[in-house]
Amino acid sequence: MNDIPLTWFLIFAAACFVIGLMGVLVRRNAIAVLMAIEIMLNAANINLVAFWRYGTPVEGDSPISGVMFAIFVITVAAAEVAVGIGLILLCYRRWHAADVDRFDSLSG
C-alpha cells in the first residue's frame, strides 16, 4: 500500500504558510490580514499533526501531543479572531476605514 511521504505534508504546510505570510505583507485591509494569519496558523497545525502521525512519541510525552497542540492552537485562533474583530470595529468607528495603513495618528 503506497503511503504519502511525510515531506509532502510538510511542503504543503510550508506553501500555505508562505501564502499566508504573503497575504499579511500585501493586504491592507485588517480583516484580510486576519484571514491570512489564520492560514498561517492552519499551516502550522498541519505540520504538528503530520509530525505526530509520522513520528513516535518520546517517552514521558503524551501519545497525541501534536494533536493536543493543534487543538489548543485552534482555541487560540478563535480567541484571536474575536479580539481582532473587536479591535477592528473599534478602529473602524474612528477612521471609517478598516485598512491598516490608514491608522496614522501615532508615529515618530
Binding site: P5, L6, L25, R27, P57, V67, A79, I85
Partner: protein, 219 residues
Amino acid sequence: MNQILFGVIATMGVLSALGTVLARNLVHAGLFLVAFFFLIACQFVMLEAEFLAAVQVLVYIGAVAIILMFGIMLTRNIQGDDTTTVSRAGFIAGGLAAVGLLTVLIFGITHEEGRSGRPAWNSVTTRPAIYPASARKSESQAAAINNMGLAVGEDLLTRYIVAFEAAGILLTAALVGAIALAIQEGPVSDDPSDRVKSKQNAESLAADEAESLLTSSRA
C-alpha cells in the same frame, strides 16, 4: 491512489489559500478561506486525526468564518469590496519574498538530516502502522487514534489541565474584552451628520441591526 487524493486536496488547498490572499472581494476571500479550512480538515482525515477534523470544521467554519463575515459586514463593507489596491511593486516584492522563503523552507524540509537518532524527514515515507500486532508504535498511540475523543479528554484533564484551564480563561477574556471593545456607548461618530447620511442606505441599516443583535446578548 491516496497519493493522488493527497495531490488533489493539497492543490485545492493551496489554490484556495491563494484565493483568500488575492481575492479583491472580502466575502469571496472569506469563502475561499472556508474552503481552505475544509481542505485542512480533509488533510487531518488523511492524517487519521478525524476528531481534530471535526473540531476544525466546528470551530473554524462554524465560528471563526462567521465572525469574520460579521466583521466584514460591520465595517459597512456590505458588498465586501476591498477599497484599497495593492501597488504592483508591493505585490511583486511580497510575492518574491514569499517565493524566496518557500524555496528555503522546501530546501530545509527535504534536506533535513535527522539528528540525534531520528530518521531524516525525507526518508519517512510510510507512517507507522497503528494495529498493535504489526506495530513498532506503542499501543497507547494506536488506542489514541482509534478513539481520539477519549484520548484528548484524558490528556486535557491530566497532563494539559493547566493549559486547558488557561484556555478557558483565555476564551473568557477574549469574549469579555471583545464585547467591551465593540459595544457602542455614547455618540459614536465624531461627525454626526456623516452617520445620518450613511443611515440612508440599506446596507448600513443591516449592519446596525446586526450590531444590535450582537450586543443585545450582553444587555
